[in-house]
């Protein structure tokens, strides 16, 4: 189908996604005089995920800790004050060229050409279907994202008795939001062998959701413990939490290679994807991390974007970073220069006092014992200094435990 009547527009930097990473990057670029910095946000309001997170704990010293919505507004104001154009209700629907995006908004269709494009498209939770949880398909099956918006943004009724799948921080926030909405939380269910206690809510560890029951409305969730015991939790609502996947569709439509571990665009330590002029930052790279991490990545990427605008050549991709099980993924995915920020490393299993090694072609580059446990819900932050020892003509750099 031939797109008709598209308005052509230009920007120096086009940032897709006005969450903390995109806004922080746009603010820094605009302040640095990068020219026209435009942030496209498909939602009606800027701010990204924190808009829906009504608990506190956002921001960093010396700023006061804020609730999510206030934090989202702060970054939207910061980007606008710095001179970035934050456009809401605008969706980037696809690519019309290497650095040219097609958009849809109530104002019409555009084709925006930029000198640099930054994908800051965020992440989503895998829904019940993607987790292949069998059973019936009644109403009452949610993700945390839908729950938060339903309660906080629209005041929609949820249900009377809910089961929360997951026991990570996001699951605990889901439980709190359910209680706030007047819904009893029957149980939290996690496949992990251990989980933090939650006052007043039974946490079923080493337990999987077997099947959903109910027609017209959810009536229960069948669960199975690792030891073979099974049971049915009567409930009218189930919230699937966590299991994040980057919103990588725009990257894929642009032919940008993804990392098989994160399912986000493959980037080097300067947030460069394989496509010259296209960068990626924030949760689009790795699923959910703290807002502060997203902001840090956005701010750090500003230097790389400025260098690109100033004419720095797009470097040859350096050696890839690989992980060994039980490690799931690492970001960045390639080492082209010396990393300036901590690398994020995620394990599929909880490991106490993990020892992480980095090796290339049989040569150990770095090794360290961490006092904090490796966890499926929290990344280890590896100091970046050892990346200076990577041989750029060498083979893959392999990260492993032990």
């Amino acid at each position: 189908m031939t797109p008709v009547n598209r308005t052509d527009a230009h920007a120096d930097v086009l940032v897709v996604g006005a969450g903390p990473a995109g806004l922080a990057l746009a603010a820094r670029l605009a302040r640095a005089g990068a020219g026209r910095v435009e942030v496209l946000e498909r939602e009606p309001e800027p701010g990204g995920m924190p808009r829906h997170l009504h608990h506190g704990g956002f921001g960093r010293a010396p700023l006061p800790w804020l609730r999510g919505p206030a934090y989202a507004r702060r970054w939207a104001r910061a980007a606008a004050a710095a001179g970035a154009a934050v456009r809401t209700g605008v969706t980037a629907t696809g690519w019309a060229g290497p650095l040219r995006l097609e958009t849809t908004s109530p104002a019409g269709l555009e084709r925006i050409t930029a000198r640099a494009v930054v994908l800051a498209t965020g992440a989503r939770e895998r829904p019940r279907s993607a987790r292949l949880v069998p059973g019936s398909r009644p109403p009452g099956v949610l993700t945390t994202g839908e729950l938060f918006r339903s309660v906080h943004e629209y005041g929609l009724p949820i249900g009377r008795r809910a089961v929360v799948v997951g026991a990570e921080p996001v699951a605990r926030h889901a439980a709190a939001t359910l209680r706030q909405a007047g819904t009893d939380v029957v149980a939290m269910v996690t496949e992990q062998p251990r989980a933090a206690a939650v006052p007043g809510i039974p946490v079923l560890t080493a337990t999987t959701v077997g099947e959903l029951h109910g027609r017209g409305r959810l009536t229960g969730v069948a669960v199975r413990h690792r030891d073979g015991r099974t049971g049915l939790l009567a409930c009218d609502t189930v919230v699937f939490t966590g299991d994040w996947i980057p919103d990588h569709e725009l990257a894929r439509r642009g032919g940008i290679p993804l990392d098989p571990g994160t399912r986000g665009p493959c980037v080097d330590a300067a947030f460069r994807t394989a496509a010259p002029g296209v960068f990626a930052v924030g949760n689009a790279l790795h699923g959910i991390e703290s807002a502060a991490t997203a902001v840090g990545e956005g701010e750090a990427a500003a230097a790389s974007v400025l260098a690109h605008l100033a004419g720095a050549p797009w470097p040859e991709a350096g050696p890839p970073l690989h992980v060994r099980a039980p490690l799931l993924w690492v970001t960045p995915h390639r080492i082209t220069g010396i990393a300036r920020r901590p690398l994020l490393l995620r394990s599929a299993e909880a490991v106490t006092a993990p020892v992480v090694t980095a090796a290339q072609d049989g040569r150990t580059l770095w090794r360290r014992r961490f006092p904090v446990p490796a966890s499926p819900s929290r990344s280890l932050r590896l100091p970046p200094h050892w990346t200076a020892r990577v041989d750029h003509a060498g083979g893959p750099v392999v990260l492993a435990l032990g």
Binding site: M1, P106, E125, S129, E146, L156
Partner: protein, 466 residues
Amino acid sequence: MTLTRRGPLPGGAPYDVTVVGAGVVGSAIARELSRLPLRIALIDACDDVGNGTSKANTAILHTGFDAVPGSLESRLVRDGQRLLAAYAADTGIPVEPVGALLVAWNEEQLAALPGLADKAVRNGYRSARILPAHEVRAREPELGPGVLGALDVPDESLICPWTTTLAYATQAVRAGVDLHLNCPVRSVAPGEPHTLATGRGPLRTRHLVNAAGLYADEIDRFLGHTDFTVTPRRGQLIVFDELARGLVRHILLPVPDARGKGVLVTPTVYGNVMLGPTAEDLDDRTATGSTADGLALLREKGRRILPALLDEEVTAVYAGLRAATGQDDYAVRAHPAQRYVTVGGIRSTGLTASMAIAAHVVGLLAEAGLPLTGARDPEPVRMPNLGEAFPRPYRDAAMIAADPEYGRIVCHCERVTRGEIRDALAATVPPASPDGLRRRTRARGGRCQGFHCGAAVRALFEEARP
């Protein structure tokens, strides 16, 4: 225009014809009857049209190449394919003529291809031909290893089953058919007229058409007939995200062999890829749940057919029940003395055959004394397009310029705009649930399943709820 979903049924004179079952077949029959200057009712136990077997089929507009030659099904599928293809073009129902390949993975299947090609000819379909392995691979580069050949059936097409049923029902209601939903039939007192005891009170009708799908044998028994028993056959399906669409170009049909019928891999008009169905005979007519075993089986078979498919995100898993009767043909039976027609045993080809079934049934009613005088052509309808191969509002500058709501995307995965949701909620046959809204717009039907838009879509639905 009359559509009711609650309260006692309207009284007054008996209906001339009542169609029980507002699936794709019942709705097509009601539409065909709506040409006549008669009082027609279309009733269904569900809260929406097309909410049973019709919503969960494999969404293919068949050529009928593999029907039993000489059967009623063979004739009605062949005629229906032509009728529905033309109707779809006029009405805006998305159809993509991608063609089908019946892929042979073993010698037995390869040996079966000439017989299938011959059967196609006997069904009046002459364009099927056998392709050698290298040509199959050139056409479908992502196929798994071990392809020996295929039967090419170039006229098999993809179609939107939801819009088809909705178009029929919309046209019928606009032409004066009374559509009563949430209206299960509890018993029938045969007579002149028949009196149906429904969940919403009595309904009197001179002629009765039974298009009750999974429950067709129950309605039949109310009138004293035991011609067939419906055994629900469950088909579980996995739908993959539209980013998988590039992996497959044709409908990849299985070649039946001694180990039974395999599964198919097919694109959909919405731009997804579908894998399935299983075939499990059950007793429970409400068992529309998926099972861990069923999904594991589909994934195992899918991995052999199209290995890369399994790496893609799953957007939906669902199960449909087919109304199997253990017979090799449709069970369409006229009982003229009772002014009663049963339309039973309509399997997945029923979508394709629906318009031809409708014409056939009206003919049977006429033989039982229904007057066909004064027929007029129904007012054409134009349905909102849900197909990826046709212009959708979010890419239509003229639509957005005329009404900016068509530029306001609410469901980001499926690119559904607020204007489309508003239109569906205000349509002749509006949805009764967010699921019904999804079948009319695709809203919250994508990879995030409502993570981003679920609350917004539900709020729009609740706002419009009467």
